[in-house]
């Protein structure tokens, strides 16, 4: 099975490299990162603010159906070269994970294909490992929630 997205995380280091090839012209891939309406669609989060320029700042927020904020992240854009590169910081608010430095490199492969190279640098090795485990932990929680749901349904009188 072909793995489109590659993740390289060497043990004992505090960074991760994520690489992905897209069947998209590099201009469109870049657009998906700078247009707030498009970011909202694929990230599945609300974009409170996204100033796609040098010294611009950004803020994303996700709420559950009841309106409680479940995810809030923000940062500052340090460099933005259209169609080529974005350097920004990323911080998940109210978490102990610190600030990440993210370098996105957009590369044209052919007229209709492109590559994204995402280099994420964490403050410490421990923070990187914790953040990388989030989907792992999340997956377990999700499975538990589903189990709870099923069990609750079973408990209800028929």
């Amino acid at each position: 099975m072909e793995r489109k997205t590659k993740v390289t995380a060497e043990e004992g280091k505090h960074d991760v490299v994520i690489t992905r090839d897209f069947e998209l012209p590099v201009e469109l891939l870049f657009k998906a990162y700078v247009e707030p309406e498009i970011v909202e669609q694929w990230m599945g989060t609300k974009v409170i603010k996204l100033e796609s320029q040098k010294h611009g700042s950004w803020q994303y927020q996700t709420s559950d159906p009841k309106g409680n904020v479940v995810f809030s992240a923000s940062g500052v854009i340090h460099e933005l070269l259209p169609g080529q590169k974005i350097t920004r910081t990323f911080e998940m608010e109210n978490t102990p994970f610190g600030v990440q430095l993210e370098v996105y490199e957009f590369e044209k492969l052919t007229d209709n294909t492109s590559r994204l190279n995402m280099h994420v640098i964490y403050e410490t090795v421990a923070q990187r490992d914790q953040v990388m485990k989030l989907p792992f932990v999340g997956g377990i929680n999700m499975a538990h929630n589903r189990l709870e749901e099923v069990v609750t349904k079973m408990k209800q009188p028929i």
Binding site: K4, A9, R20, F22, L28, K31, I38, Q41, K133, G139
Partner: protein
Amino acid sequence: MNLRRDVFQAIADPTRRAILVLVASQSMTAGAIAANFDTARPTVSKHLAILTECELLRQEQNGREIHYHINVQKMKEVDDFIEPFRKMWDERFDKLEEIMKAYKGKPNA
């Protein structure tokens, strides 16, 4: 969670990773493994002990010899640690690609 961390410490070392690659193709004695490295024999023995301790390798008595086997299940566990993270990004990027393909189809895009 402690054991898990030990596993990652175990594979952090390049010699230990090389040992795992070596043993992955066939089970071997400590002597046969050591013959592949310039490192002193006791050092290789120490690496083998660490790999065995965190269950990446298993010892098996074969007559008078002890053979080292790779523990596939444990190796899978190491891979599983990154897999949900990779999958999360893969799904996000799939969505991005899908949205932008539709976007490309729009007039004035």
